[in-house]
Symmetry: D2
Subunit: 378 residues, 4 copies
């Protein structure tokens, strides 16, 4: 059996999610290659060693460059802060490694394009961690739409709102600094819903016009909590979009939306029906079909179950519930099987680039107060 040997770089919030998914994936799914947790990098050798032990990796290092060049690593998994994605990915590609990167792929569409083109040229496989589309429930939504059950999609409303920065006295962190994060809520959160919109509508976004605001203009300096430093990117943004197929759409995002803990949601209206979903109830989908008996019309709450994509590997009974890490586990399955079979994976760097381009187009449309075609960017 072929092996897929992983080199993980970064073990914070999302790196730990990857580790949990790596741990359970071989038991949950019949993987088509042997998954080997080979090498792990962190900012110090000590932290790397500790995390390697915690996550079950064979070896560790304090220098990520050793991972991207290691002969026993097949795929480099990038879970670092966003501003490092580009450098690491390019180094990995240069060494002929496949690359599995967290989102957003880069701080700008221009950078994402460089990464995408480098991978294409090198002929390595790529995957971007837009894990929410791996949720069986959202896969079900995709299936319902693709089968035409709600007719032609005519409107997409999507949000990714959270409230992690809602308190004006939460100290400034890297999310608020352009050099580290690029965009604000758009880059950190809307990346997901933009990508998901394209996946669900089955068409790319063509043009956009947005509006945004940095509501909390400054925040305490985390070093002294007294001085206040400027917030450099947007707290909230909204955009009207048009997909290539003509579908209208609205995207909303905020990192200061009080009460939203995982406010990724969509309402997809078709000519024959409507789907609604919120990630805060990630195991249920609401479906309305207009052709139902008029006296019995209504939104039906479907609990995700074994008849829906990828659920039965977690549990053979419906409605028993899937969790956040289970999405990542499906993603790992896609990674391992994709590499095992030398197939193009989805969403690859191309999609990551497309998403960055939409985000940059939104930002530009806000500044220039006009509709921006996505292909004006990068």
């Amino acid at each position: 059996m072929k092996k897929v040997r992983v080199g993980l770089i970064g073990t914070g919030y999302i790196g730990r999610c990857h580790a949990i998914a790596y741990a359970q994936a071989p038991t949950v799914f019949p993987l088509e290659a042997q998954l080997v947790l080979e090498y792990l990098a962190e900012i110090t050798p000590e932290l790397a060693a500790q995390k390697a032990k915690e996550f079950g990796f064979n070896r560790s290092t304090g220098d990520w460059k050793e991972v991207v060049s290691d002969p026993n690593v097949d795929v480099v998994d990038i879970c670092t802060p966003n501003f490092l994605h580009k450098e690491i990915a390019l180094a990995a590609i240069a060494n002929g490694k496949h690359v599995y990167s967290e989102k957003p792929l880069a701080l700008s569409a221009a950078d994402a394009k460089i990464m995408y083109e480098a991978a294409e040229k090198a002929g390595v496989k790529t995957l971007v961690g837009f894990n929410y589309i791996k949720n069986p429930t959202t896969q079900l939504a995709r299936e319902i739409i693709a089968r035409g059950e709600i007719g032609e999609v005519i409107h997409f409303y999507g949000t990714h709102n959270e409230d992690y920065l809602a308190n004006e006295n939460t100290p400034l962190d890297w999310h608020c600094v352009k050099e580290k994060a690029g965009l604000g809520a758009l880059g950190d959160l809307a990346a997901h819903i933009v990508q998901m919109s394209q996946y669900l509508v089955g068409s790319d976004i063509e043009k956009v016009i947005g509006d945004m605001e940095t509501v909390i203009k400054d925040r305490p300096n985390p070093k002294n909590l007294v001085e206040r430093l400027p917030v450099e990117n947007e707290d909230q943004a909204t955009a009207l979009v048009r997909f290539v197929n003509g579908c209208m759409g609205t995207i909303e995002t905020s990192r200061i939306a009080c009460g939203r803990k995982m406010g990724l949601s969509y309402v997809i209206t078709g000519t024959k029906g409507t789907i609604t979903y919120t990630q805060e109830r990630m195991a249920e989908l609401k479906l309305y079909l207009h052709d139902d008996d008029p006296a019995r019309q209504g939104f039906k709450t479907i609990l995700t179950g074994p008849l829906h994509p990828d659920y039965k590997n977690f549990c053979v009974s419906a409605g028993h519930g899937i969790g956040f890490n289970d999405q990542k586990t499906v993603e790992i399955r896609d990674l391992v099987n994709g590499l095992a079979n030398n197939q193009t994976m989805y969403p690859a760097f191309e999609e990551g680039f497309k998403v960055s381009r939409v985000l940059d187009a939104i930002a530009q449309s806000c500044e220039q107060k006009r509709w921006v075609n996505v292909d004006e960017i990068a």
Copy 2:
């Protein structure tokens, strides 16, 4: 006790709602004038007579002009199709009558302005039937916001979606004809949510940029059901808006939104909390307060009750439920008491004009693909 003698013109869908509200208002509320159902007009004397009997009006006529000039009528209540609002209102004003008109006030902001200015000049009182803001639940939302309970309002998301034209084979009716309806979903539905947004945010809309689509391009001719006639106005529209106070907003409307029977809804985000509401559950409001104990944060579902505005007149127990016609009953109370005390009512023609201006600005922004300042209109 002073009398308020009503002349009702039009007894269709909304005219009948007025009649139900007139019937129950004196029992529900301690009115400050005696409400007299004096005169009723319909398109034929026969229909008028029948409706007068059904609705309890003293006299009837087949000619609305008799109503607007009748010496025993104090206020003219206009429940006709939209395209007649202007002519009737101006005639009533010319006769010194107070005017209570259904929404939208007119087919265009220009017409609405003429009506508003005529009323101002004549010194008559006016009221526009934006009844949804009279719902105790939405009054509660207003109260919560006005008291600062959710901090400064930073985002308004509002919809008025219905599906009454979702079926592409529903025959063309006057809603789809520019000359009769003016705008499509914007005029028929969004008028409500635009007005409500200004009421709730406590600030007028300053500028807008929208997008719209006539999804179903033609519909069966109602006369033969074979031929198809063009639909002349928009099925769905979306707009980004900015309020004068800087608050961002999004307005969505559709008359082909499968599954939405009364899809008037709002999500209002403040710096300290969030409110959500949908008219389909018109007796409950969800409220999130960010200052709650972090381990006990969440949206609270408040059932409207006697401690909230205007509810206790319907029932002294909480959660017992208010209905569609109850909103209109509150509006009638405002009408009667306003006229009894010779007070300016809310929302008056001025607000009706402002709303029309926003709607026209949205339509213009869609055509011109640019941000439009509301004061560019009319």
Copy 3:
């Protein structure tokens, strides 16, 4: 046109609801007789006069006996505290009046039986104010069940929980005194859900076993708020029941159920589907059908609309909402039309007696800690 001349006795909480319904009924429904608000009684002539004016009654009196014997009264409407129902109803019947009584019909099944038999013997028509079954939504539930859409009903779970006495320092009132109220939560609240269970299941309750508790043993004397007086009846009760048709059931009731403002609810399980409902969302019904495509099964939320019983008279658009008083308005329609056509109405005193019998059986089963057949009672 025949007249139905009403004599109303009692104008408190529920009397006022009747008045609102009387006011709007003729506009909402095409009544088959002319409704005349003829005579009103309260405990003093002054209060009666004031209420007659407020409610639009022709005459008033401080002595209910004048109402029951008045030649111009056709039907006596009893909205007094429960302990007076019997005396007034028997006096009205003795005078050949039809009787419309609020629930519970009497303080005991024995009394209810006397009333029922007196009415039968006198040949007068009766109606009991179990208004919640008049809600179009619950009528829809009945229709779905009666048509066999959910198969054979095999389980009924019903509650009527409220929290009006949840605070232990709420002073004692008549609800807590046996002589005035009879049973506690069972009589005041469970009467509704017991009656509704029989209406919906389409079968009477045959036997019961219950459990109950007076959780708050004493309450402040309302006269001095210092002394505490004993609570004489149950705060909460639960019962297992079996219907004549073999269906199993559970009934729960409480007047101290924190958070329940109008906690009348049911879950009705059939061999082919399930219905759920809560009065706190009185315009929506959830319906699950097991024969749906297994991959698209789920509870569908149906918003009550014009295709459902009695809704379109309130509004011709679906999902626009019905309120508490609208139920009573349907009841008034049944009263007026029933009397107009000299028909037996539902639910009549017979049903009121049956309900009292079930309630007494539950109380007895609690005391004797055994299953009690309903026909052991009265």
Copy 4:
């Protein structure tokens, strides 16, 4: 570091859940012993070998007796059909092994008692797989109750309803055969809610009276699908219960409850508040506090997050969702750490016995149609 070497017997539905949990537990939690997946038994050596590979176990066998006597096994994990629990557990105990058994512990309280006493006598540690109480959300409910936030608990309503046998033509399987399953819905499903009720109320059930029904009397013989065989145990059951502390309760269970995919739910009413929960939305808890400002009362929907028990090990952001297998992962943590520290675990065989006793008491009360004290059993 100490080792905990597991011998797993049975790899069906629940055995596979254990395997997934074993796989992820060391990454999710900082375990206090090294978890070793040592030995696995299935009904044939071939199946055992295949599953050992799939689940990552070191060795495998076609004879469970080899597992219970293996010197390198510390704890025997029993995931077999229910009727084998007793024999395997007693054999394991006889060999001095710790035992981790799935629920229900045995087919009868008498058997469960023998198992419990054997373990006590042998001094081995035990754990029963009532995994739903390990859900962070239900742990939060327990915490809220234990801290007195809803006052004294006065009523518990709990269900465990599913619809896996709702179709009358689903062939008979072992669940319907007394010798294999013991009780029907009570044993398979209600075991969970009974155990959970005691965990949440903080008091054991003292006495019960129930009612039950085998609604579908016979089912197709799975061997020929033509002949119909009798169903030997109950499809649905309901019971009134009283806890030792006086709290009233109702337990409902069904395996033919159309629409319930994971219908484990509870409503817990206290003197100062109420909690509601359904397993179908396993990451949210609704909490009502009666001391809230009366005009702002309502049920608050709390999304489980890192401030609640055991959640942050799965994800450090609130509302991101936990799944079915995550509960089992918490249970594995408890197992490993309990054995690492030689501590009594919860819920141990004693609790398993108590639950079986309650279930048998309910069954007996149904047959004898009387209240049964739990201590009358076994």
